[in-house]
Symmetry: D4
Subunit: 245 residues, 8 copies
């Protein structure tokens, strides 16, 4: 449950538009709401700075819809990741946006954007993961800028975009194959870097493991590494850093 949601409840009590009984009813959901197959953690936003998010993969369509509706009812917003267009169509919630490249469904993105998150990719095939990161960070309230296909085989493409580095507060670098881009970017900036390995590649790319391990072994110290294809996590971390107090 969003802080402003709670405040609204309390204000309504104060101004008399909500009876204390009804307020209590609303607030008792604070700990969590039990759907039996899922326990919705409505005050996660308050506690962790990021609301509970629905990871669609591994859940039945019906479970996703029921959770989304329960969350929408409480807070008017939610984010579903790794969703199909079919789920989006069944959802029927006004204002829901489907981001096809990343498979994200978003309702109630924070409209006030702050800070500056830069998202880079090494290649064209890394874009879906980059989009997952970008959409997530924007949903949470970060301003985001993207530059795609600037891998190390043609460094001049990267050099040309160095101005973008200086404007960013955090940089997300998305790369598959040998995962070398974060090291090269890291050698050129003092901004915190979040490296996201992708499953792009074949043979000994091992579905992204090689890029992951390369990033964990970067000769540039202090690069934050995410799980393979985890654009969503990168978006969350970038937002946390972007809004660090």
């Amino acid at each position: 449950m969003h802080y402003t949601q709670i405040k609204k409840v309390l204000d309504a009590v104060k101004t008399g538009t909500l009876s204390p009984e009804d307020a209590a009813e609303k607030l008792k959901h604070l700990p969590y709401e039990d759907l039996s197959f899922a326990k919705l953690d409505h005050h996660r936003h308050l506690r962790q700075g990021v609301p509970e998010v629905i990871f669609a993969a591994g859940k039945t369509e019906k479970q996703v819809l029921l959770i989304a509706q329960a969350m929408y009812k409480r807070s008017g917003r939610f984010l579903i990741t790794r969703a199909s267009e079919k789920v989006y169509r069944s959802l029927k919630i006004k204002g829901a946006e489907f981001h096809a490249a990343s498979g994200i469904i978003a309702v109630g993105s924070d409209t006030k954007k702050s800070g500056n998150v830069l998202v880079l990719t090494a290649g064209t095939s890394d874009i879906p993961v980059a989009e997952e990161a970008a959409v997530t960070a924007m949903f949470l309230g970060s301003s985001v800028h993207t530059v795609y296909d600037v891998g190390v085989a043609g460094l001049h493409r990267l050099m040309d975009n160095r101005d973008a580095f200086k404007k960013a507060r955090v940089i997300i670098v998305v790369a598959g194959m040998e995962g070398a881009l974060p090291s090269v970017v890291g050698g050129m900036t003092d901004r915190p870097i979040i490296a996201v390995p992708t499953s792009i590649g074949y043979g000994t790319s091992f579905g992204g493991l090689t890029a992951l391990f390369a990033m964990l072994n970067s000769c540039v110290p202090g690069i934050a590494v995410m799980n393979i294809d985890n654009g969503f996590g990168a978006g969350c971390l970038a937002h946390r850093i972007n809004t660090v107090r």
Copy 2:
């Protein structure tokens, strides 16, 4: 080469205490200084926010000493990680401190500390890695606070220290074995979390791989993960986030 170092050179020229010729001599090292077996990147601090650091493991003692002396001569400060006490004794540089638990030798720590980095460990055996992180962040100029041995087998020890979470701008969580602590901490705070897996454990801990993979798979989104036992990297990232502008 530290920004203030460059400025001092230029100021000295302005005030006449340094001839333009000598200043040129000093500044021409800006790109790097070539020791043949090593090319010292003196302006890394300017470019990356973190000065070049000497990773002693894998270098001969003689190489470490020559690099340290060259760096000391330029900037009056350096950091050596994974060093033995023997190296420290051979070094003979005034003001050098040897941190035995983590094997760090530091000269010229930034004396002005800012922000607040919290370092937690799951167990007693994780302390050397935590100390590497803490000493590094302090060297770079961050204020650091530590709480050790608060693993998930006794959650009350962690709960008791929740106040420390609120005061921190960034939290480093160091854990071996099943690596569960970052997830539990992540469920209780909105601060950026840096997880450092350690090689503590046996059998299927695989020298820290299990903790690493567990951290990359945390159900709390957006945890930054480091290589196994990489306290140094965690200290660098924490400092970058702690001082993000």
Copy 3:
């Protein structure tokens, strides 16, 4: 062959309703019944406390049906795991129940339930494995209680259900991703804990291996670990412990 089955045969001989010849015929199956492609171990229940169970995956539908019919004929009960609804429909045995979430077909569940097995899951996606465990333990004669979606990202959901721990004789904890829940539960109870890793997750979850290894490395000593997604095994072990004499 169930102990009560054997006793019934012998009683029938005693009371004269079964000729010694027919009894012999029935009992000679004691060692096993040879279907050529399968040798049914009818007295496994007597020997191991758990009857032979049909693992459908990897067998042809025809093999599954023939084995099930042979077992039904001997003892009036059987359990098929990892079965499709199609197998269930072809089976045509009265009283057979199909548990869709877990893919179990059960006939002749023990109606007298004893003891108390608690089944927890970290997330919604872990439910199918948890159901496999719960249905198995109930089939064997254990009383079972379930609490789902109480993962470590929101500990208050778990804390709220602590009463259930005290009532249980054994606790099954089902979790994917980083597999941290068994450690946290293990820190709060003195009951035997059975941890079941699930294949939920992606990237470095390695289809459940990371959860498995995390559980084997738990900082809480003495957690029993099962193969990935092996709800059936967890149900068997829970029942064995629940009825230990």
Copy 4:
């Protein structure tokens, strides 16, 4: 802190031999005792049924001794695993026993033994792990019986000891190499079985991984599996099952 310890404190208050102030002093340690590098969880016995145990590997000798002394002072008992004889000699605590085969130091074993735990090994080289399990279970209060070197290459040695199976409430089976013994034992008994893989073997035994994976894949359902060489965990679990209420 042991339940009887707490009760003794309270009784002493009741009978007047302890002032309420002193009792408070003693009990305030209930949550944990902070040695800075370690936070001792004195009431773990109360909560988990097993007291906190000192895992010596990875700790400095000094840390082990300080923790042991602090624990001894509170409860008069402790267990150190993976300890060297050198630690034992430095300890100088009366009544401390050093079990050389398993590297365990025990003080204050529970003298009242109950139930029956059977410990089997496949070979001679598996004995140290089996001893770790046996000593642990005995320390916690279980009655233990051992039969060694009954691997599957000579089944008659196992058959000869089948009587021991019937007397046991729980069976610990310790095996390296191909790890086949738990399956064979599991086919002959209805007791809960705890399988402990050992690092005995070479080449593709992978330091015990092959035995571990074989045990997790046993065709006998419901075998509890431990980490490699984790005799201590097996002892804890066996005791928990042996004393299940």
Copy 5:
């Protein structure tokens, strides 16, 4: 090219039914026959005791048919493994037999069977691999006997078939999951044992790797191990041993 084929050619020359020119034409194929995409090694039987065999997986249907026809033309016999029924139907060669369980197509099996190869399986799901071994050995001229579903969870099923051990010259043991059967069989006989791991199992069975490694680590010395699911190789080796001179 089969020895008897060569002899027939030479005999024909001797008796005048074949001109020396035509004989030369036939024999010049001895080294190999070049189909450009394949070089058929017709005298492999002479050299290795086993004719060249067509492994269908990874070849186009057209390639398989062309190779089969070329081989049939030379020697009147061939074996295709891992073939689909579709390939069999396209083949249109008289006398070709399709073994559905194993996916083998055989033409010209050696009709004189000698020696005795015993093939055992641990479970029902291992039968396809066992059939591949059995059909191969029979094709090459070995007498074969099979006993299925005698895994270690019910040892009495194995004990009941011990007579078969004594009659065999070689024993092939096919098993998935924990792969324990070869060790148990090996403890009961002095015949050479060929162990074939199968991909039956899930989770940490790793598609047969665990069974493979278990077999390589058998506590019974001298067990011959094959690649996963390699029934064909086991059949070849069994035949070589069965006919060793």
Copy 6:
């Protein structure tokens, strides 16, 4: 952008058939052309000796077509690897050739062939990878010769083709399964050898990893190894060596 392309532009300016303005327009693409989802590196040929190539796997069909058209417009030539026939049909560019075995689409192959590259395969199933190498090297301007199915099980097939070794400047050896062919070839020649492991095999071939590792461990020193199934890379390297100045 091809060197001759640049020269043509400059010549056209010199001869007056192109205005300096138009020439500038054409040349300003030198650094790269930005399609937003892709940054085309038109002067890669100049810099690396090999033009930028479109790896179709992982890109949408639409992305592949747009990149191909942009490249075609600049230089009149391109190479697409791992493409389906469907992409080829949508392409509609005159002179485009589709190589079905390897999935390559080529436009504008260099017509002047020089040097001599020999491509060998161990088996029939390795041909698609070999074709990828051969087509690539020919596209870049190398003369190529192929000999297929000369694996080590029938060494005489290889011996028969030894003359081809002497004529080659570079030899590409493509092999799956145990990957032994490069070692055997390497023992017979002084030409640089490029080994390409293929994913042909099953079980412990691990999709080509075993062949890869075998090639990296060859007892013949100095064999160049490529990623699994990377015929394209082998073709590039062979061409670079074939044309080394």
Copy 7:
């Protein structure tokens, strides 16, 4: 217990030189002799064709000596593998031979040699494993011939020794690195081949795993594969095949 040993006992009873009581005493050891830490399986030779052998690695020196003495007392012969010279010196048993290259101690080798086992190595460093195989097979009663350092980098060395192939009944091929030799030998003979991978190599030889996997994937069908460095197992299998009835 050796068959001739038993017969001697029975003959002695028949001839009156041994009382039935003493004979019973001797024969009651038939099942096994219990040393508590080891249960000696004296009739393993009768059952498996190979006597129980002492694998010294992982046992204490004292255990090895006690087992050796007990075995010597019963049968006058034993084999210890992976033993140090120190164990040999402590043994003090007349006629014991120490084979330094392989670390074998043998007493009572079968003096009647039969059949013919050929042992080949790829390199000089593979000799210790080859010697373990050779000494074992000789101890068991096989005639053995060795040819070392005939790896595939210089095939003429192998070709030169082809006569040895024809004289052998079984061929053991010992190789590390890429493990290609068994395939090449297998292409040249119809004898059963036993491949033994060694841990010779570095980097991606993975301590012998690459050679092991290469051998399991040989393009020559039906090669028997042993665990890494398992010369002993190869010797046992070779002897079983060499003496197959």
Copy 8:
């Protein structure tokens, strides 16, 4: 046996300074010289362009010395890799040079250097492997140039040395950790590149595997990859390419 060696023999016959008998004696060693534990392949240089080289690791000191002496006697030159200084001291051959950094002993380096091989390293710790490559290529007759410590964290160090690229015919790039340098160098040159991963790094560098896999997955096509730390192989390949005809 070196070509010039053979020619000298024949010339000596022609000029009468050597009797045909003695010449035959000398030449009969052509196939190989049998030391029993090693078969020296003296004409490997003729056949493969690189003489047989002694890999000291895994051989006894005595074996190394005997092989070296035999080779020295035939051709007056040899190369020993991975040798200790102790071996060098025992060797006592005039003109032998010990390269301490790489552990190479060389006698009879080719004095006529041709072509140009450039050797780069990412860091200081990679120098020993680079030296192994450099010394090997020089021994074989290549001209070699080295530039060390130019890793991607400070690209300006690499840019500064770009002139060296243009002068080289082949470039060897040696790097550990994330292994990114070959990709970056590959993006800047059209010369054949040989990438050598080193075991420098910790945690998920897996002893060089991560660098190896990164190099195999380079986004720059056609990079030749060597086994981990295999400087010797890189030197051989570089020389073969450098002298390609």
